[in-house]
């Protein structure tokens, strides 16, 4: 079947590729809602190394998406059923390596076309029903599953003293980490450290928030998530190393285009465990969908969503990427192309 694929050809320039898709054995999904990730924005703005851009583009963006099943010849899904799609496509199974860290895995909107298409042909096992979750919230399921995965990483690595857990960052990633931590580890006190008091005020459900430039000298925590990324990575990581208790676990999540110098002397002295966490796999998605069935969690996630006007043309795609630059949290939109 002929499919329209809306590819980014070069920064801020889209082109339509027509693709004749064999849908045998696939679930055909019509994307309905999409959400913009920082990674998409970096491609769109051209804020990636020119060599990487030339290797990856042309490519359709967006890996956060909810949709409606159009056809599934396997019979597992009904036409019209609301679903979320897993952008991670593993090529093999391993008992030791998660699918999102396997170098052979394909990630849609990084190593293959993302969801900006007329329809998406998905392997049956990469589609998860999300009945009961509104499409505009369900589209950030991938983003929430990344938080679920990171919290699971912490739970797996960190020692049992988990009285206080710090989240360094005040953006949307920090918010979903705090949200996932709150439900998965309710006995821990959550503190959030950020630069912007207005953004911090959104974290109404955590125990305490601090501005990073006025931290109390006796601040301490057992474990921490770094959710700053970019230019903020240096300060965030080194501050965590300064304030964390010995033998704490630090989960790094923020992406930085540049290498970051960190205080290894203190890191070694304290015997810290540093864990990288990126993306998510099917189990995390399933857990995220289950959690999102709870109204309170949906409401919490809904408060960081800004819904832009629907996208019915390539001009509209430019508009939502521009909107996203000016909104503090997640930009979502109804996909009608």
């Amino acid at each position: 079947m002929i499919n329209y694929v809306y590819q980014l050809v070069s920064p801020q320039f889209f082109s339509v590729k027509l693709d004749d898709v064999d849908i045998d054995g696939k679930v055909v999904v019509r994307p309905r809602y999409m959400s913009i990730c920082h990674a998409d924005q970096r491609y769109y703005q051209g804020n990636r190394d020119i060599k990487i851009l030339s290797q990856k583009l042309p490519m359709a963006l967006i890996h956060e998406c909810s949709g409606e099943v159009l056809e599934d010849r396997s019979g597992r899904f009904k036409p019209g059923q609301p679903v979320v799609m897993i952008p991670n496509m593993p090529k093999r199974h391993s008992n030791y390596i998660y699918e999102n860290y396997d170098e052979q895995s394909i990630f849609l909107s990084s190593t293959a076309d993302g969801f900006m298409r007329e329809f998406v042909d998905m392997p049956v096992d990469r589609v998860i029903p999300c009945d009961g979750i509104p499409m505009d919230i369900a589209c950030i399921c991938e983003f929430y599953s990344v938080a679920v995965h990171a919290v699971n990483r912490l739970i797996n690595f960190a020692h049992q003293q988990r009285e206080t857990i710090a989240i360094w960052g005040d953006g949307s990633l920090a918010y979903v980490i705090a949200s996932a931590l709150k439900v998965k580890n309710p006995e821990s006190k959550i503190i959030v450290i950020g630069r912007n008091s207005r953004k911090l005020s959104r974290f109404s459900f955590v125990n305490k928030t601090y501005l990073s430039y006025s931290l109390p000298s006796d601040l301490q925590f057992d474990h921490a998530f770094e959710c700053a990324g970019g230019e903020g990575s240096y300060d965030a990581i080194n501050n965590i190393i300064n304030y964390i208790k010995p033998q704490g676990t630090v989960v790094l999540m923020g992406v930085s285009e540049n290498q970051v110098a960190i205080n290894t002397r203190l890191l070694l002295e304290k015997g810290l465990t540093v864990v990288g966490s990126s993306r998510s796999g099917k189990k995390d998605f399933e857990e995220a969908v289950d959690l999102m069935r709870t109204q309170r969690i949906r409401r919490r996630l809904g408060s960081i969503i800004f819904e832009d006007k629907p996208v019915s043309s390539i001009d509209d795609i430019h508009r939502v990427f521009t909107t996203d630059l000016n909104t503090p949290f997640k930009t979502v939109f109804n996909w009608r192309l």
Binding site: M1, I2, Y4, L18, D20, R30, E71, E118, R336, L337
Partner: protein
């Protein structure tokens, strides 16, 4: 109920390259009409999709449906007529036989030889036909349109700002379309090649739906070659 109607009543006289009607020629590895049908079927809002087929090619079409495993109960065949409107009204007759007739029935009519239609265009057609009763898919004209009444001299150059190129789908409330058509004189019926014109002649508003430049009509050999390139296939003469 909502019905799709793929209009394929023609017998391919403008293509000149083949005795095969153009809707049956291969685009990549499938006949054009199969691509069009697949896209229409993908829209779950259609209760049925009718193929208005030239009577001489009906059995050929049945064979194609078998060949491409298109066995959905939503696919129905209707005999094509002498012209485009005859085919539409033949389909409407078949709908009446198969499903009866309700006042809010909608028909989305689409050229078989426009395989690059999108789900957006189809969905917007359905919504507009439900809300307004009639709609037409168009794209803004990029070339200046020149009118000549004698084919020798320019009679008029209309302002391009108001010019659009008509595509399909064209969609209608079936009852309204039938009522309007029944009011026409036989002489008017014979000159009407476009179903939207039936509404326009009776001062019924027809809403515009934005089409796609790629939603081209494959009519000539050149169109066919361009379509092959767009679809990423190789043209076969």
């Amino acid at each position: 109920m909502i019905y799709g109607a793929i209009l394929a009543g023609g017998s391919g006289t403008r293509m000149h390259v083949s005795t095969l009607p153009k809707q049956f020629m291969a685009l990549k590895d499938k006949p054009i009409i199969i691509h069009t049908l697949e896209k229409m079927l993908m829209c779950n809002r259609f209760d049925a999709v009718y193929l208005g087929i030239h009577p001489g090619w009906m059995s050929y079409m049945y064979d194609l449906l078998d060949k491409y495993n298109l066995d959905s109960e939503r696919i129905k065949l209707a005999p094509g007529g002498e012209n485009r409107n005859d085919t539409i009204f033949n389909v409407i007759e078949e709908i009446k036989k198969d499903f009866g007739q309700q006042d809010d029935d909608i028909i989305v009519t689409h050229d078989a030889v426009r395989p690059f239609v999108t789900l957006r265009i189809i969905e917007e057609n359905i919504d507009a036909a439900i809300t307004y009763g009639a709609c037409d898919t168009v794209i803004p004209a990029t070339d200046t349109i020149v009118i000549s009444h004698d084919g020798v001299d320019i009679s008029e150059i209309p302002n391009r700002q108001y010019m659009y190129q008509g595509q399909t789908p064209q969609s209608f409330n079936i009852k309204m379309l039938k009522d309007l058509y029944s009011k026409l004189k036989p002489s008017d019926k014979s000159i009407l090649t476009d179903a939207c014109k039936i509404c326009v002649m009776e001062n019924v508003p027809v809403k515009l739906i934005t089409g796609e430049v790629l939603n081209m009509k494959i009519t000539t050999v050149n169109d066919y070659e361009i379509a092959q390139v767009i679809a990423g296939g190789i043209a076969i003469d």
